[in-house]
């Protein structure tokens, strides 16, 4: 619960730092919260970091694409703030920490975790936004047909 709130505050902070104001600022904050909530939900169903990150990134992408269309803003704005809680900053730190402690086994474990998280986020964004693009163009196609 604290984590969800902190992810909201953190995403909000980044949006503020990048000079976003008004309604868009709050939308950006919520995107971080939603993606972390999705992460926790999937983690509780199936404790695998890869699946949870993938699902959370996909949820964040869908949220960002939808909100961008409603508020007429580039998708990047909400996507960046939504992805930030998933960024493997913690794992990167622990990887480095185990080099210092000369624990090579743990080092390779956490190194792999960091890489896998990055790959999972990439895959989540790619899959979700490609699918969203296909769906949007189908909807668009039929909308135009109906007008005609």
């Amino acid at each position: 619960m604290i984590q969800i709130f902190a992810s909201f505050a953190g995403s909000l902070g980044f949006a503020l730092l990048y000079n976003l104001r008004g309604k868009k600022l709050w939308t950006a904050g919520v995107s971080g919260m939603i993606s972390w909530a999705a992460y926790l939900f999937v983690w509780n169903q199936m404790p695998s970091g890869f699946a949870a990150n993938l699902a959370a990134a996909a949820v964040a992408t869908i949220y960002a694409e939808t909100m961008a269309r409603i508020l007429k803003t580039p998708v990047t704005v909400f996507l960046i703030t939504g992805i930030i809680p998933l960024v493997p900053g913690g794992n990167l730190y622990y990887t480095m920490n185990y080099v210092i402690a000369k624990e090579w086994h743990l080092f390779s474990l956490y190194g792999q975790k960091t890489m896998l998280t990055a790959i999972a986020i990439a895959a989540g964004i790619m899959v979700a936004s490609s699918l969203y693009g296909i769906c949007a163009s189908i909807v668009h196609h039929y909308a135009i047909k109906n007008i005609k």
Partner: protein, 253 residues
Amino acid sequence: MKLKKVLAFAMDIGEGMLISGAGVSRVEDTITRICLAYGAKKADVFSITSSIVTSIEDADGEILTQTKRIRHYKTDFKKLDEFNQLSRYMCRDLPNEKEVKQRIQKIKTGRINSFMEEVLTSAAIATAWTIFYGGGIAEGAIAILIGGAVTVLSRYLSKLTPNEMVLNFLLSFFVAALAYLSARFGITKDYGKIIIGNIMLLVPGVAFVNALRDMIGGDMMSGILRVCESVLLAVFLAAGSFMALVFLGGVWQ
């Protein structure tokens, strides 16, 4: 409006968007749309993260080309949003030269965060992430100080350092050193959480997300450039805090 002017304005808008953190495919799309809307017969835009090249052909078959080189970025979603609105407006209503010029000028000189705001915001971000990764009240309080200090330092260091990587290396060195020192003086035990929270300020999230979006748009080259950039930055971040911990750990043993 003359096509020459249209090209110049479209390039200005494209440049502004790229600097403020838009993906390459969006920049190319915007410039193409504006040029076509004002009556260019053909518009070919090629852009990577550090340069934009546009050639347009007018009705008489005459060809105009312009190039822009981009050397620095400053993520600013407000400007990005406003440039986007302006380009939509231009394609729809075809405003005249004077109005477009005014609006571009207005966006460029628009409100930006003051230095004080930037410092306070980064302090809040660092604290939020420190708590997110499991830090307590003491850790959060130290993160406020370090987060603010990082922004002040980056302002002055960025004038001295030759590139982004050295800057990030020095900043993360500084973060880790301060966090470690605070642990040494017995204020906190868990200096790792503080380091993570502050590293989040420096992590190249914008570059990474844009890289993926470029690749989805079929722009492999810009995508690869940006992925390389963000991986290199991450390595330098890790190296910076590594050096600080090894150095200080060695001194005090």
